[in-house]
């Protein structure tokens, strides 16, 4: 995301007459990035769609309050991650952790059977799904989105040191899982 586009979006958003245009431009620019971030965390497409919509609805209602103190994408990622956390809390309230994991695995298998038969990718996703939520978030943001630790620290509102440790633990657990399931 270039700084020019970000400034352009901000200018459109701050003007009440062009707010909707700015919002549409914002969505077109970041929706794919955010969708995959959410999808990697919740796995189900329906859940990812709901969370993404909720994220952008929240963004729309708080557009006026965005002061531009942080980059737009870190702000968007933070809202999306918070929405995912809310989803996890809500789901955990209704179902046990084991049940959720087995559902996730089943969804993964079903999805893969339809489109992608690559067993390596599926196994890698299984390994990531075994991680605790926080470690999964850190790993995904670092590995897939290639964000800096400073950006991830802003998104998850933790220190860089904690993030490095979390990433290291996540990496080791995935490696161990892959070795065990070879």
């Amino acid at each position: 995301m270039s700084q020019q586009t970000e400034a352009e979006i901000l200018a459109l958003i701050q003007n009440p007459n062009t707010r909707d245009t700015g919002f549409l431009l914002l969505m077109n620019t970041y929706q794919k990035q955010l969708y995959w971030h959410i999808r990697r965390l919740v796995v189900s497409h329906e859940d990812a769609q709901d969370i993404l919509q909720e994220t952008f609805i929240l963004v729309y209602s708080h557009l006026a309050s965005f002061k531009g103190e942080s980059a737009i994408y870190t702000w968007l990622y933070r809202i999306a991650t918070n929405e995912c956390n809310r989803h996890f809390r809500h789901t955990n309230f209704r179902r046990q952790r084991e049940e959720l994991l087995s559902d996730t695995t089943a969804e993964l298998a079903a999805d893969t059977a339809l489109e992608n038969s690559d067993q390596i990718l599926l196994k890698f996703q299984h390994a990531i799904q075994q991680l605790p939520n926080k470690q999964r978030m850190v790993f995904n943001l670092r590995y897939y989105d290639e964000l800096s630790y400073e950006d991830i620290a802003q998104i998850l509102q933790t220190s860089v040191g904690t993030l490095r440790t979390s990433y290291h633990f996540a990496f080791e657990k995935i490696k161990q899982y892959l070795a065990d399931h070879d």
Partner: protein
């Protein structure tokens, strides 16, 4: 850490997930519509809550006024009642005492016994009385007072019986 990540190179950054076609094309317009609906709903809710708050405050104020106002009215009301009760008690003056106190002038006697609203009638009577002598007037006054007292006393005895 980069060396560590290179161990995952064979997995790449691909995901084994699929997305419905046109999903990303349709999503922005749908979301904008939803966001606007949500904003309208919130605005309406906010308006409703504010109106409700104003109405509740007004109702509370009216209730408070209703509760407080009878208390204010009762105080003057109770004074009125006491004022009304006072004339019920009649002071009985002994006849002898009354007779001895008959040393008033003609004008004073007339003014004392007649109500102030009948001033025009008393003016006529004044003219009549002016022609009477002092002795006649004293006798008349004594008679009038005695009759009046006799009436009062007889009325009291009836009430007691």
């Amino acid at each position: 850490m980069i060396d560590q990540e290179s161990k995952f190179n064979k997995f790449g950054k691909e995901l084994p997930y699929t997305v419905p076609t046109d999903f990303f094309d349709q999503l922005p317009a749908k979301t904008l519509l939803l966001a606007k609906e949500r904003m309208d709903k919130r605005r309406k809710n906010r308006w409703f809550i504010r109106t409700l708050a104003v109405l509740t405050t007004a109702a509370a104020a009216v209730l408070l006024f209703i509760v407080i106002s009878p208390l204010n009215e009762r105080q003057p009301g109770s004074i009125l009642l006491s004022k009304q009760k006072l004339p019920i008690e009649k002071v009985i003056v002994p006849k002898a005492q009354f007779k001895s106190s008959v040393q008033l002038t003609n004008a004073e006697v007339v003014q004392k016994n007649k109500p102030s609203t009948e001033l025009t009638e008393t003016e006529n009577i004044d003219d009549l009385l002016r022609h009477l002598s002092d002795e006649d007037l004293a006798q008349l006054t004594a008679m009038y007072g005695a009759e009046d007292m006799e009436n009062d006393i007889s009325q009291e005895t009836i009430n007691i019986n």
